[in-house]
Amino acid sequence: MKKLSEEIAHYLQRLFPLNRSLTGEGNRETLRIISEIAPVRLFEYPSGSRIYDWMIPDEWHVREAWIKDSSGRILVDFLRNNLHLMGYSVPVRRTMSFAELRPHLHVHPFLKDAIPYHTSYFKKQWGFCLSTEQLESLFSPEGIYEVCVDSELKPGSLTVGEILLPGTSQKEYLVSTYICHPSLANDNLSGILLTALLAREWATRKRNFGYRFIFVPETLGALAYCANNEAAVKDLMGALVVTGVGGPGSFSYKQSFQKEHFLNGMVEDTLNELHRAFLTYPFDIHGSDERQYSSPGFRINTVTISRDRYYEYPEYHSSLDNLEFVRPEYLLSCYEAYLRLLEKMDQNLVFIRTEPHGEPRLGARGLYPETGGGSGPNGMERVSWT
């Protein structure tokens, strides 16, 4: 476990600074690094492709983005923290007054020292995110500022990663995580790393079912994968969405849309067996990619185990969701839970009797105690009525 913990710490450090987004080189680099843990096959879905009710947008690239004051001092710099630039910001290079700049500056609603996380994937605009402390100490209503967003939006593709692990059965499960958030550690670098580690371990196991581990940009990436694998996705037995698995908070799980589905019971059994107290969130229409997998066209029961689930911790979607917030030991505790859950899922086979008439003669097959009688049941009758 110590070795695994050190490995997690190593990959958190390497992956945290990358500029992940809906598309772009940060996603590819993330998947290339993750492939050191478990080989990921990359798929590229071109810009302009129709995905159900959506369209894959142009690919986003950023070289630099900053705001300077009139003395040339850099006040806010994308290269220092990628959260400073609103995701998918269009290019701009101008000098402007504070009044003109201010609508493009975003601060966190209640954390004064945190940079918030904002994107604008479909409305063409630019923006910077900064802490309230930075805004108040570095900017002046009378100031003149030079603004540079050296970005490019051009036809490219949306990148998705997949690890396919076949089983003896044609039936499959999905394990899905999202790769579109930049320097946010719990949401969802933790999920990316846990999913890769889980795939590596699961590849060494003898499996009854097949497993699709996928790394997708949230929403559009999930839908692009579904659209390009529609028959297989519609035939899935169930799915896991891995998110928010590295924080210090209590365990929780989000139920699938069918409360009585076996995945929900398995998650509860798993967490109880591990002696983990947990919160239960009933299914609702908010959240992550279970929104897509549960939609009427797919109806895949999908569950999530988290520690510090999205929405539920103050640091969510801010620069304080960082490598001080996430720790290897927290991530390991979730890894242990997901691994045990996979073990249960894989044991959930369906059998029929080869001779359905009457009870099977267990004794003839060496499955029944050789001495009959006795004072009570012996256990084997439990399965005689399969």
Binding site: F262, G265, Q347, N348, F351, I352, V383
Partner: protein, 33 residues
């Protein structure tokens, strides 16, 4: 009925039902579908 539902019905761990089911499969009593 899947093994999880059976385990719930019998109030025994899934792992135990799975172990016995594999044994019975090996003996030709059960066949997985």
């Amino acid at each position: 009925m899947n093994l999880y539902e059976m385990a719930r019905k019998l109030d025994v761990p899934l792992e135990e039902v799975y172990r016995i089911a594999l044994k019975m499969e090996g003996a030709g009593v059960l066949r997985r579908i």
